[in-house]
């Protein structure tokens, strides 16, 4: 007994037939010069043309495989493949990390005491690389005695890959090399990870030549090393000016500044280059690192008026306004919730704070907790709609979802009811009633409610599909009758309960002599 195979074939919907015909793709559209091309084209997606055949074959394959288990299961197939259950092959590196680390026992020992001394945060506060940096100072001796001796022999054999030994030697021993290194020698040495001091390049010309050599080698690591040196030894204006005409190096510097988080110099650079939009975006990006909502809000305020594109400016302004609102709403609602006097918060306690949520989520929240509030309050949905110029469609969609979740069917009804000047009411949905039905169904609206909206769907096929999908029997039956589609009605009969009112209704229709069926 194995439940596996059935799952595979539950929804054996033929993909291609849907793509070709079901969705009404504009197959025969003409588009000027593409006419010929398109008239001959049709969509091919996933074709399960010979589906039945193939699926039954597959079922068979599954059965066959499973029937073999009894015969061969004496030894577990996991042994055979030599993998642990989680699939790491036994002996693989990630598997071994778990295995060997597991034995070490005292992983946590002493951690607590250490925390106070050596917590991570204390490193985070360490200054980021600053201008006191010097490449040569990398290479000064090691701090731990004892570690040097054991490997010093091996080290001097491979000076190419280690810094320390060479610099440990007295100066005279290598003076010959160091003073003669040209920019290109120096760059070549840096590239191979060898020692070299950049300090001897004093004139601007030398420094720039060094940079050009580095750039021509394309080695980002060396380019960055030279840039660090230039950053330290040149004044900002000269550095910027020279990089402006050296685009590759400039891009590396920008990337490097981003990486080390030297926001101040980065902004100065953008300002110098007159790259105003990048300057604005780069400044704005900093808000991501500010957790405190008040501080974040204040920071966003400083972004307003920066030289964003016109479109973006509006969005940045909205971002600020939204957070400002959210802070007010949050304070107010937290208070209401704690006081426990307001029914809606008692019945539906808030799951999370509204701070930093997107606009649409905020609108949903406001439609959920503050639906009836007057337009004057910050938390009222109408106020949000106006302030942020939320389009009708978006508003209705969100309000519908919120009110349906609360099962406030009256509100739902009101959302779609419009009165004309004669006082007649009419149902209208800017989002299309098929969407309304989907959303209502998702919020488990009762059939009577669903039925009402399914009936408002204009396209007959869509209506019939939705009605069938959501078991709005009356709608299906009435639609079939209107379509005079006897076959479909007959087919539907098998889907309703035996002896139900719906079945009676169908039978009555089927035997009615007044209908002229089309089939």
């Amino acid at each position: 007994p194995n439940p596996g195979p059935t799952l595979f074939f539950q929804s054996g919907r033929p993909l291609a037939s849907g793509v070709r015909s079901g969705l009404g793709l504009p197959m025969n559209r003409t588009k000027g010069d593409e006419e010929e091309y398109w008239n001959s084209s049709k969509f091919k997606a996933f074709t399960f043309d010979d589906e039945d055949d193939e699926l039954s074959q597959l079922k068979e394959s599954k059965r066959a495989v499973n029937s073999l288990r009894d015969f061969v299961d004496d030894d577990d197939d996991d042994d055979l493949e030599r993998v642990s259950w989680s699939g790491e092959p036994v002996g693989s590196i990630s598997w071994s990390i778990r295995e060997t680390a597991g034995n070490s026992g005292s992983t946590h020992e002493g951690r607590e005491q250490l925390k106070s001394r050596n917590s991570f945060s204390s490193y985070a506060q360490l200054p980021k690389p600053t201008s006191t940096y010097s490449l040569s100072s990398f290479f000064r001796g090691r701090t731990r005695p004892g570690s040097f001796q054991s490997l010093s022999d091996a080290l001097s054999d491979t000076p190419a890959k280690t810094y320390a030994p060479e610099l440990g030697r007295p100066k005279g021993e290598y003076r010959d090399y160091s003073n003669d290194w040209s920019p290109s020698d120096t760059v070549r040495r840096l590239r191979k990870g060898k020692v070299c001091s950049l300090e001897r390049f004093r004139s601007l010309q030398d420094k720039l030549q060094l940079l050009e050599e580095a750039v021509s080698m394309h080695d980002g690591n060396v380019i960055t090393a030279v840039l660090i040196f230039l950053k330290r030894t040149l004044c900002k204006e000269i550095l910027f000016r020279e990089l402006e005409v050296r685009q590759v190096a400039l891009r590396h510097l920008i990337h490097f500044l981003k990486e080390i988080g030297d926001q101040k110099l980065l902004l100065d650079l953008f300002r110098f280059l007159d790259r105003t939009e990048e300057l604005a975006l780069s400044h704005y990006r900093e808000h991501l690192n500010i957790q405190d909502p008040e501080k974040r809000k204040e920071f966003l305020k400083t972004c307003i008026g920066l030289p964003f594109s016109a479109e973006d400016s509006a969005h940045i302004q909205d971002h600020y306004t939204l957070l400002e609102r959210q802070i007010i709403i949050e304070a107010n609602d937290r208070h209401l919730e704690l006081a426990g006097q307001t029914e809606i918060f008692r019945k539906h306690p808030r799951k999370a704070s509204i701070l930093n949520m997107p606009l649409v989520t905020t609108l949903f929240y406001s439609c959920f907790y503050h639906y009836t509030e007057a337009e004057g309050t910050f938390s009222s949905p109408i106020n949000l709609k106006k302030t942020f110029k939320i389009p009708d469609k978006q508003y209705v969609l969100t309000a519908l979802a919120a009110r349906a979740k609360l099962r406030a069917w009256h509100d739902v009804d009101a959302l779609f009811t419009t009165k004309n000047w004669l006082g007649y009411t009419k149902k209208r949905a800017p989002i299309g009633f098929h969407r309304v039905v989907e959303i209502l169904h998702k919020n488990s609206a009762p059939v009577q409610i669903l039925q009402e909206y399914v009936n408002l769907v204009e396209d007959v096929d869509t209506k019939l599909n939705l009605a069938t999908k959501f078991k709005c029997h009356d709608v299906v039956i009435d639609t079939c009758r209107d379509l005079k589609d006897r076959q479909q009605l007959l087919a539907y009969r098998s889907k309703v309960d035996k002896g139900s009112a719906e079945e009676e209704k169908i039978d009555a229709l089927l035997s009615s002599p007044q209908i002229r069926w089309k089939n």
Binding site: G4, L7, R13, L15, G18, V19, L25, R29, Y37, S41, K42, F43, K44, A45, F46, T47, Q57, S61, L68, D76, D77, L80, E81, G87, P89, G91, S92, I93, S94, I97, A101, S104, S106, R111, F120, Y123, Y133, L135, R142, T143, F148, S150, L151, A154, T158, K161, Y163, H218, T224, Q247, V248, H252, I260, G261, L288, E311, I316, N356, P358, L359
Partner: protein, 596 residues
């Protein structure tokens, strides 16, 4: 061990052996017992070149993942950090080193940077006061990692972003270095073709590097006939579309990492008698996917629609093989049967796994939403309604589908329209920002900079020209027995692979006009060979092309290239290299802006 690497036209085991040797040499430099502290990201790629046993042979006794605070206790002489050159990792290493208990036995620290030492990182270590604590600080240039007999990857997830957004060429430099290593092992590649800005750069670097190494003449007979360097931004379209090959779909749905996939365990539960299915495992089932598994090698590149029939045929064959036991009468026959048993059991296990995976995938591909998404993608790729707001995308935003899915679709529309009309673009932007949060303005800017989502310049749409000239949309797709690469997307032929195909026959001169529309220069370089190494091709012998995707490649593109390799009169076999194996989702994800 890794026999599947040597099945291809080029024996990539040679490369694997070379990098293993280098690893051994480094380990032996740190004499005595050792513990390795791993940057977790690296364990995957390393797993492809070495097992724990290799490390153990070189006295690695313990392994840990890199974490803050104090190192776990380990009675070893050496502690070696295996890390990528990233600043945040340096902070953690410093913390480890500084927390070292000084009363305990002294231990030696070393760092192995993969793939490259970084002066920037060493400076950070120095600022944190620990640089001097390290005896060996070396690099392990694992530039190109062999994934399969015809597939190499640098697994550098940030390469695309660095190249096309930051303009940082570091990963291109690594690509060039990787290519130099390949040439050192497999001979100089006589001809280099390329398309795109980055391709040009890499070719330049290679030529320069070659000039620097002139001292040692490469005396290896060349294995590769030519190299094709392709920028990812020459073909931004392909990765955005949903891959429809078996392997591509596994990657789209579950994500393949370093040739492993993690799957929901339910369908893999061992069904033992009397088990009653009580103890369903909760941990994900992890499977390795490569050509070492015979069945997988056969089905991975097929369109998913063609996978079912293969599985069913295999099942019949295996059933029949097991039935043979009834016919085995003599001792000899029984012996023969038993000797085949392990192979048959492996085949059965493999078949069971892939039947289960096919079930999982089928659940997704038969869903209504998958179908709707595919329809929209195919409309865009064939040029329908790319210039107005799309209903389905609107719906996805309204229902708050995952942002990446929305971005993939919007970008696809933009690429298929050579940019969106300003009005349409503004509308999408606004909807996205209002629904998912204003901070995504940064991500949208990144996408624009990468050319994925942008306004249409001058109201000119070049895509129809490209589509028609390169025959990117094919009407007659045979998914079961394909005759064209377009089967991998059920109709759409990946642009990148089409370029490779046309290069090999009849040559790019036939498509000059389209090449000019696509971004970046196209070029050809020759690397002269000494006469002794020049190849005289036998009639009917295929050329071997190494195709390098700068910025990432998808499994569907790989499948398409393998399809071309296998064509009887194709004339070219491909070995594929890339900066990263990726799909549309991981690609967009890498371009999203996060807090620093």
């Amino acid at each position: 061990m890794a026999a599947h690497l040597s099945y291809g036209r080029v024996n990539l085991n040679v490369l694997r052996e070379a990098v293993r040797r280098e690893l051994r040499e480094f380990l032996d430099k740190c004499a005595g017992s050792k513990a390795i502290v791993w940057d977790e990201y690296l364990t995957g790629p390393f797993g492809l070149i070495a097992q724990y046993s290799l490390l153990k042979e070189h006295e690695v006794e313990k392994m840990f993942t890199l974490k803050g605070n104090r190192l776990p206790a380990a009675d070893v002489k050496n502690i070696i950090f295996f890390v990528r050159p990233r600043l945040e990792l340096m902070d953690i290493i410093a913390e480890n080193v500084l927390s070292e208990d000084r009363r305990g036995p002294a231990r030696d620290f070393h760092i192995l940077f993969v793939p490259r030492r970084s002066l920037l990182c060493e400076q950070r270590l120095k600022d944190l006061g620990v640089l001097g604590s390290f005896i060996h600080r070396e690099e392990y240039s694992l530039d190109l990692i062999p994934f399969d007999g015809d597939l190499l990857s640098m697994e550098s997830e940030s390469a695309f972003k660095e190249c096309y957004l930051e303009g940082d060429q570091t990963s291109l430099y690594h690509a060039a270095k990787g290519l130099m290593t390949l040439q050192a092992l497999y001979g100089t590649i006589p001809q280099i073709f390329g398309k795109g800005e980055c391709a040009r750069q890499v070719a330049n670097m290679m030529i320069r590097m070659k000039r620097e190494f002139t001292g040692s003449q490469n005396s290896i007979f060349p294995v590769f006939d030519n190299l094709l360097l392709l920028d990812r931004n020459v073909d931004l379209l392909t990765p955005l579309a949903t891959q429809l090959t078996y392997e591509g779909l596994i990657d789209e749905i579950y994500g393949i990492q370093n040739s492993y996939v993690k799957l929901p365990p339910e369908k893999f539960a061992p069904k033992k008698q009397g088990d009653g299915g009580k103890d369903l495992p909760t941990e994900a089932k992890k499977l390795q996917l490569n050509s070492a598994e015979e069945l997988y090698a056969e089905i991975r590149d097929k369109n998913f629609n063609a996978v079912g029939s293969v599985l069913s045929k295999k099942a019949k064959v295996i059933s029949a093989a097991f039935e043979e036991r009834h016919n085995a009468k003599t001792v000899g026959e029984i012996k023969q049967f038993v000797s085949q048993l392990p192979h048959m059991q492996a085949a059965r296990g493999s078949l069971a796994n892939h039947t289960s995976i096919a079930e999982l995938i089928k659940d997704v591909t038969t869903s209504e939403d998958f179908f709707d998404k595919l329809t929209v993608e195919q409309e865009f790729m064939s040029g329908i309604d790319t210039d107005k707001v799309n209903n389905y995308i609107e719906d996805c935003i309204a229902q708050k589908h995952p942002l990446i899915k929305v971005l993939r679709l919007v970008c696809l529309q933009s690429v298929c329209n050579s940019g969106l009309k300003q009005k349409v673009l503004d509308y999408y932007k606004r909807e996205i920002l209002q629904t998912y949060g204003y901070e995504h303005i940064l991500t949208l800017h990144n996408l624009e900079k990468a050319g994925l989502l942008k306004p249409q310049p001058g109201g000119r749409n070049n895509y129809p020209t490209i589509r028609k000239t390169l025959r990117l949309w094919m009407d007659d797709v045979n998914e079961q027995n394909p005759t064209d690469i377009s089967y991998v997307y059920s109709g759409y032929a990946p642009l990148s692979v089409r370029l490779a195909q046309l290069l090999s026959r009849p040559g790019w001169r036939s498509i000059e006009e389209v090449l000019r529309i696509l971004p970046g220069p196209h070029f050809e370089e020759r690397q002269p060979l000494p006469t002794g190494l020049q190849k005289k091709r036998q009639p009917g012998e295929n050329r071997v092309t190494l195709i390098f995707f700068l910025g990432g490649v998808t499994f569907a593109e790989i499948a398409a290239l393998r399809f071309l390799s296998q064509l009887e009169d194709g004339g070219t076999e491909y070995v594929i290299a890339t900066t990263k194996l990726m799909n549309g989702t991981s690609w967009i994800e890498a371009l999203m802006e996060r807090p620093f």
